[in-house]
């Protein structure tokens, strides 16, 4: 090896440095709705984490004497049939919703991305087996599939997560597969192979980071629809078992008293809407901010 480094010929000065992070911030925080979504999500996280402290009453044990009360100073959102405080149940419902949303996205995202990456990278028979299996799963509408799985496994938060995971894996696998196939054809992957990298290294170090921005956007947008799906399952009675607090189940419990106690259905319904809206807004913001066409702009 030659140690004393002398330059062959000096080339003109470096172009001005553009911070990726600064550009990301500028685009991301520019939109009011994205900010609004972020604030909503922040509040929700806060509420979910400190549910124990924030809830004025025990959400699971009611006082039958206070059944179906209208909103008052004592019970801000009134009480349900069993006399449980609606606000407390709403607060604990946040925990359920976020738990289901995040755990499902993490498990489905991980499994789906690995499957898509492997299928896309190796192609051929491997890809055929994996992707045809995904197509078969995709043949069922997501909610129907989740319903079947939840019906077979029974209710409970764990089974809801499993059901939604199985139902959403194909989406991630598909997107990841397509991204991998397009990234794989780039010259730098060939160059990387020519430099002696193993398949594993190329997949994890070179293809995955290039496929990440669209996946982040997908995951964020999926969070909203997962929470919606969980609410739907709970509404249909296959989700979270009583007395567990789930927004979907609360909407269902409340709708029989729609005329007398509309708050019982509207409050959790509004909460569902707000979360989904917030996740979608943040997802949109991320999509714009991670747009590769903006790379290098100020």
């Amino acid at each position: 090896m030659v140690e004393n480094a002398t330059t062959i010929s000096q080339v003109s000065e470096a172009p001005p440095r553009v911070s990726e992070w600064r550009r990301f911030r500028r685009v991301f925080f520019q939109r009011k709705l994205v900010l609004f979504g972020l604030v909503v999500l922040f509040i929700l996280f806060f509420v979910a984490i400190f549910a124990n402290v924030l809830a004025p009453y025990n959400p699971y044990i009611g006082n039958l004497e206070e059944s179906l009360q209208q909103p008052s100073a004592k019970h801000w959102l009134g009480t349900d049939l069993q006399g449980r405080d609606e606000l407390s149940r709403l607060i604990f419902g946040t925990r359920t919703a976020l738990q289901v949303g995040f755990l499902t996205v993490i498990s489905a995202g991980l499994i789906g991305m690995i499957l898509g990456l492997v299928a896309g990278y190796f192609g051929g028979i491997v890809s055929m087996i994996i992707m045809r299996a995904m197509d078969a799963l995709m043949g069922f509408p997501m909610l129907i599939l989740a319903l079947v799985i939840a019906a077979v496994l029974g209710g409970g938060i764990q089974n809801v997560i499993i059901a939604l995971t199985v139902a959403t894996i194909p989406g991630y696998a598909r997107v990841m597969n397509a991204l991998t196939m397009s990234v794989r054809e780039n010259d730098y992957i060939l160059a990387e192979r020519a430099l002696g990298s193993s398949n594993m290294r190329i997949m994890l170090r070179h293809i995955l980071p290039n496929a990440m921005p669209p996946m982040i956007v997908l995951v964020t947008l999926q969070l909203g629809s997962l929470i919606l799906a969980e609410a739907a399952l709970s509404f249909l009675g296959i989700g979270i078992k009583p007395p567990g607090a789930a927004w979907g189940a609360m909407v269902y419990d409340g709708y029989r008293y729609m005329l007398t106690n509309p708050v019982l259905s509207f409050a959790p319904g509004l909460a569902i809407m707000l979360v989904v809206f917030a996740f979608n807004m943040v997802g949109d913001g991320l999509r714009d901010a991670l747009d590769p066409r903006l790379r290098g702009t100020l």
Binding site: M1, V2, E3, A5, T6, T7, I8, S9, Q10, V11, S12, E13, A14, P15, R17, V18, E20, G124, N186, D187, Y188, L190, A191, E192, R193, A194, L195, G196, S197, S198, N199, R201, R205, H206, P209, N210, M212, P292, R295, G296
Partner: protein, 329 residues
């Protein structure tokens, strides 16, 4: 100087829907240590495929169906294409630089990360050590303020600069041989010259061999010691660079040289293009593949199969029946 690489009767084929494409058909050549060799031919003549075969980077539907690739006494074809032996040769002993500098670097990793990756992988360097070495390499290939530019992304470099980075990456593990696959084709002419000078200087410094794959005779004329001219998957002429430029013997080489403009010639000389197109590599005729375009063809060419390489001068071989020197006069 010892023999570094010897390729014997290499055959690489691609199975396509249209039929079998014999991209490289019975090609033999050698590279000595610290030698600069040019591989010249037009698009689709098998020059890139032959080099990728040496690296064992031929992907399905392509397949190496025969021959030997002996590198430092070991037949590379005996190894698994993606096995640990090949991986420890690629990048560490044989490195390759590709045509498109704009797309040959991973856009989401910094230059520094991509450079140090190789050093950590092949030389087992620690991160700090590798980073120091990477900065050294960058300044060696003429990138100013190398230390700070390690943290830049590929899009912050121009095409010429990226190719410099590629050269630094290629040489980072001090390989025995560097294969440059059309290294300057995508760059403008002034940058081309700079980069070729740089490559020559670098391989001399690192005591590596250099294989320049190009369609541009002008590129190899100045730098290569020996050249191989390929046509339709075969080598049609080989020899020392100066001999071939002074006295080209194969009709194809003669044609190639006639369509290169020269400064030292009388005014008014017209460039003579080679008429026709290269043959389809599917269903090649048994006769000489250049026959349809050959101005010197004789009866024998039409009747007998494509001949083997024959010696016509000082280490100069051609794959042709015609004694072109007589015919030209």
């Amino acid at each position: 100087m010892g023999r570094l690489l010897e390729v014997k009767n290499l055959k690489t084929q691609f199975k396509t829907e249209g039929g079998l494409v014999k991209a490289v058909d019975d090609v033999s050549y050698y590279i000595d240590e610290q030698e600069i060799v040019g591989v010249v031919g037009e698009s689709g003549c098998g020059k890139s495929v032959s080099q990728l075969s040496v690296m064992r980077l031929i992907n399905s539907p392509g397949k190496i169906v025969g021959g030997q690739i002996i590198f430092e006494g070991q037949d590379l074809l005996k190894y698994e294409a993606n096995g640990p032996e090949m991986r420890s040769i690629r990048g560490a002993k044989i490195a390759m630089i590709f045509q498109e500098p704009m797309t040959s670097l991973n856009p989401v990793l910094t230059i520094g990360r991509q450079l140090t990756e190789m050093l950590e992988l092949h030389l087992g360097m620690r991160r700090n050590e590798a980073r120091k070495r990477a900065a050294e390499l960058l300044s060696l290939v003429g990138i100013p303020s190398a230390e700070s530019r390690l943290d830049d992304y590929p899009h912050q470099f121009s095409g010429g600069m990226r190719q410099r980075v590629m050269i630094a990456m290629g040489l980072s593990c001090n390989p025995k041989m560097l294969i440059a696959d059309e290294p300057t084709t995508a760059l403008d002419v002034t940058t081309q010259a700079q980069l070729l000078e740089l490559m020559k200087a670098m391989v001399e410094r690192f005591r590596s061999s250099l294989v320049i794959v190009t369609h541009n005779l002008g590129v190899v004329a100045r730098y290569a010691q020996r050249i191989y001219i390929m046509y339709a998957g075969r080598i049609v002429e080989s020899g020392y660079c100066k001999d071939i430029f002074r006295r080209p013997r194969h009709p194809y080489t003669i044609g190639l040289l006639k369509c290169v403009p020269r400064l030292d010639e009388e005014e008014g000389r017209k460039l003579v293009p080679i008429k026709g197109l290269p043959p389809n590599l599917i269903n090649m005729p048994p006769t000489c593949a250049f026959l349809p375009r050959c101005p010197y063809a004789v009866e024998q060419c039409r009747k007998e199969p494509w001949p083997e390489l024959r010696l016509v001068g000082n280490q100069q071989y051609i794959r042709c029946y015609v004694n072109t020197e007589e015919r030209i006069q």
